[in-house]
């Protein structure tokens, strides 16, 4: 099966991301099945900046470790990634770099300076060369460059042509097109979270920048004019979540985006959301911690934190989307359930999902059109009295926005009575605690069960248990292991709290063995499952070096 990886690597500031995105977009326009992973150091200049574009015949479920074409913009990245170049793989690099083996040298810097008088266009010369070697449709590529650079396109197009000419004829072949224009969308996980929020009726975001959560802040800020969003960059994460709660109190769907460290500052506000039963959606782009950790890398270290964070006891909903496509729909679901149950909802992605490009069927905003759970103004006005926290069988009280009638909407971070008045009445305290917790009963029914791949009996199979963005890697690993005569299956959670346990008991009973595969060192899902069911996994595979789990890596670990 045709499957090639083009890896562009250079220092920060050399334009790897720009070039990579242009290449990915050209492949997308050409109807190629693709997945593109970005990896970078936490700095503005120097260091590592890599963009890996994988082109496949079937669905590209994730990234790969090895390289078919390495495009190296400096010596350090050439040395760094040369060991990943597969047998029969190719290297395109700057003419002056030193490398053994089959290397196509392009004097890109020289050409950009001498022939274009634009040294910065060296990366476009390299792109032209790489595109020629791979056999990307150069007309489509030019079209993408024209759109990306606007007025400055001409020199960049010349740079592309220079690189292409110098490289000569194609040496690799891209897979066949599998879709026509309009049949797929190309998007990152970060864009998907933002788009899902907007589709779900979110019109307010306040956040403090923190990689990789910032991607959603940037996306929303750029979409503000088009959708009438209010986007506020707060002074810190404490302010961010409290601002969002203020907006939500006013009846506006609100989002905050951050990473683990920023979420730590938001925890007080999370508990407040639980107490005042005001919906808020929190996006946590995970990265390796503790503390600042590896700021631009990926990991799955915040599952237990997200599930347990906050002082006191209150219900919450936590999702961990598998793909960008699912990030769109689950973000929308997070908004819906946050509104329906008046609870905080958390979305766990990670740097790998946030920054990677993948394909999906056109997103259907109609499927997630927002349903209003707010008490209509007319109904509120007609009520004899209004109790914001009325005790109900479901635990859900009618929620009104302030200022729409003479009825007062009172909320209090202290324990309060049904009207919202501060109280220390112990009977009311018990009733309010039970009312808040009662909401989880119905919420549990709204949580989707884990997915099983491949379908069928687990008898005699080893189950790889995962959650979140590792779906693609584990799924591919299962295919590779089964093709090799193994008997494996994947059980995957993308809605992680409240944890559905009924299916798990069946899976554990049926399977020969269960191995947790997670992007952390301690097996957080495995621990959560044990806590909730008493069931224990027989093995664990963890990756915690800041890089994403890959199918090859999982297969290697299983073999041990």
């Amino acid at each position: 099966m045709m499957d090639i990886v083009i890896r562009l690597a250079g220092a920060a500031g050399q334009g790897v991301q720009t070039v990579g995105e242009v290449l990915a977009r050209a492949a997308f326009r050409s109807g190629l099945s693709l997945y593109a992973e970005q990896s970078y150091h936490s700095r503005i200049r120097g260091g590592e900046n890599a963009f890996a574009l994988r082109l496949t015949e079937g669905t590209a479920w994730g990234t790969r470790e090895d390289t078919d074409l390495l495009v190296a913009l400096n010596q350090e990245m050439l040395d760094n990634y040369l060991p990943t170049v597969a047998d029969g793989g190719l290297v395109v690099c700057e003419a002056e770099l030193e490398a053994a083996g089959k290397v196509i040298r392009i004097p890109a810097g020289q050409m950009a300076k001498d022939e274009l008088n634009l040294p910065i266009a060296a990366n476009m010369v390299m792109l032209g060369a790489a595109a020629r070697v791979v056999g990307i449709d150069e007309q489509v590529l030019s079209e993408v460059v024209r759109e990306a650079f606007g007025d400055k396109a001409e020199l960049n197009l010349k740079a592309l042509a220079l690189g292409g000419e110098h490289a000569g004829k194609p040496l690799l072949q891209v897979p066949l097109s599998t879709y026509s224009r309009g049949e797929r969308m190309l998007l990152t996980g970060g864009e998907a979270v933002g788009a899902g929020a907007i589709a779900a009726g979110c019109r307010y975001l306040s956040s403090y920048p923190m990689t990789p959560g910032t991607a959603v802040l940037t996306y929303m800020a750029n979409q503000a004019g088009r959708w009438g969003l209010v986007v506020e960059q707060a002074e810190d994460e404490i302010a961010a979540i409290n601002m969002a709660l203020g907006a939500a109190y006013a009846g506006v769907r609100s989002l905050v985006t951050t990473s683990g460290g920023g979420f730590a500052l938001m925890v007080e506000g999370l508990s407040l959301a639980g107490m005042i039963e005001t919906p808020v959606v929190i996006h946590i782009g995970q990265r390796p911690a503790p503390a600042t950790g590896l700021p631009t890398r990926t990991g799955q270290e915040e599952l237990l934190f997200a599930v347990h964070a906050g002082h006191g006891e209150f219900p919450r909903y936590v999702v961990a989307p598998r793909t960008a496509e699912e990030a769109f729909y689950l973000t929308a679901k997070a908004f819906d359930l946050a509104e329906k149950y008046q609870i905080p909802a958390l979305i766990l992605t990670d740097q790998y999902l946030v920054d990677s490009y993948s394909l999906c069927e056109p997103l259907d905003a109609g499927r997630v059109a927002p349903r209003s759970y707010l008490l209509p103004a007319g109904e509120l006005a007609a009520m004899e009295s209004y109790d914001r926290f009325a005790l109900t069988a479901s635990g859900i009280s009618p929620r009104a926005a302030p200022g729409v009638s003479e009825k007062l909407v009172l909320v209090d971070s202290d324990e309060h009575d049904s009207y919202g008045r501060i109280t220390e009445d112990l009977q009311i305290r018990r009733e309010m605690t039970e009312k808040r917790l009662r909401k989880e009963l119905a919420l549990r029914e709204d949580v989707a069960p884990p997915t099983l791949y491949p379908d069928g009996s687990l008898e005699g199979r080893t189950v790889l248990l995962g959650w979140g963005s590792t779906y693609g890697a584990i799924r591919e690993a299962v295919d590779m292991l089964n093709a090799d005569g193994g008997s494996y299956a994947l059980v995957h959670f993308s809605e992680v709290w409240p944890l559905r346990t009924q299916e798990l008991e069946g899976f554990f009973a049926e399977a020969a063995c269960v191995v947790a595969v997670e992007g952390n060192a301690t097996g957080q899902l495995a621990r959560l499952v044990a806590q909730q069911t008493g069931l224990r996994v027989q093995g664990r595979i963890g990756r915690y070096d800041g890089r994403p789990l890959t199918a090859e890596g999982i297969v290697r670990e299983v073999g041990r």
Binding site: V230, E235, A239, N242, M243, A247, L272, P402, L408, D414
Partner: protein, 290 residues
């Protein structure tokens, strides 16, 4: 501190002992929790009279409080109100104002809530210049939690957490607010009820961020520990030491124990507000004009 005896006419009788501004009060919550001699009651009254004098619809005003004695204000006014967690009334008001710009957002909180745990929010709100009114009742310590030292406790002030006297320089709230860019900054004592009312009226009708500091006694904690006498004695002290000087340089408004200090309106400027600039941008994007 000398205590002067002064003959005063008794206050006018009010029918059935009811508060004249009862329409703005949640009478079911009265009596309030504040101590005798505390400045908070008169402060709230001034606010209600200001509302009344302007003829403001209580449904158009939200009162947001933090935690502490002043934090309880939100619980007594018959308006949409929000009693937030400690230090967070300003961010909450910011979100509310951004989501519902036609509603007036009045933050009523204390010196500890607004300037210790919430200090960062305050300076950024002043700089952001949204239409938010912040009324800080400064009683020089944390009253509700038992009299701990706070960000405005004077040097040498004795508190439960500064039993040997306070070694930390206090904030001058007027200077801080002005430095952070607040376009309206005033200070009065809780004795100046008419001036307070006027200041609050000005704040309620003006654009942009407005800050009012109210110096108020805390006879139960700060006053008692620092031998300042009853609430009335503290008020007398303030009456004798507060010197009105409108437009004084905020840098000269420091409050030092035993010395005269300045009250008045120190800053009243027109700065483009967040909301004006936001609306201009929206109009520009829509191709129209405001």
């Amino acid at each position: 501190m000398p205590v002067k005896e002064k003959k005063q006419a008794p206050p006018p009788e009010i029918a059935q002992g009811r508060h004249p501004m009862e329409k703005y009060l949640r009478t079911d919550r009265i009596p309030h929790i504040w101590c005798a001699g505390c400045g908070l009651g008169t402060t709230v009254s001034s606010f209600l009279y200001a509302m009344d004098n302007l003829g403001l619809d209580p449904d158009s005003v939200a009162v947001i409080s933090g935690i502490g004695c002043t934090g309880r204000v939100a619980g007594y006014v018959r308006m949409d109100s929000y009693h937030t967690t400690h230090g967070r009334p300003i961010p909450f008001a910011t979100g509310l104002k951004l989501a519902k710009p036609d509603m007036k957002a009045v933050v009523f909180s204390g010196d500890g809530d607004l300037f210790a745990i919430g200090g960062n929010h305050f300076i950024h709100a002043a700089r952001r210049n949204l239409d938010i009114n912040v009324i800080c009742v400064n009683n020089l310590n944390y009253g509700m939690t038992g009299g701990q030292a706070g960000p405005t406790t004077p040097l040498g002030g004795r508190c439960t957490t500064s039993p040997y006297g306070n070694f930390e320089h206090p904030f001058n709230l007027v200077y801080l607010a002005a430095s952070a860019g607040a376009p309206y900054v005033a200070r009065w004592t809780s004795l100046d009820v008419r001036r307070l009312q006027r200041a609050i009226e000005e704040m309620l009708v003006r654009k942009g961020f407005a800050f009012l500091e109210i110096i108020a006694p805390c006879p139960t904690n700060y006053g008692r520990r620092n031998k300042l006498g009853e609430g009335l004695d503290e008020l007398r002290y303030y009456a004798e030491h507060a010197v009105i000087e409108h437009g004084a340089d905020p840098a000269d408004t420091e409050i030092l124990p035993g010395k005269d200090f300045l009250v008045g309106k120190f800053v009243d400027e027109e700065e483009p507000t967040y909301w004006e600039m936001y609306q201009d941008k929206v109009a520009e994007l829509e191709g129209g004009r405001r």
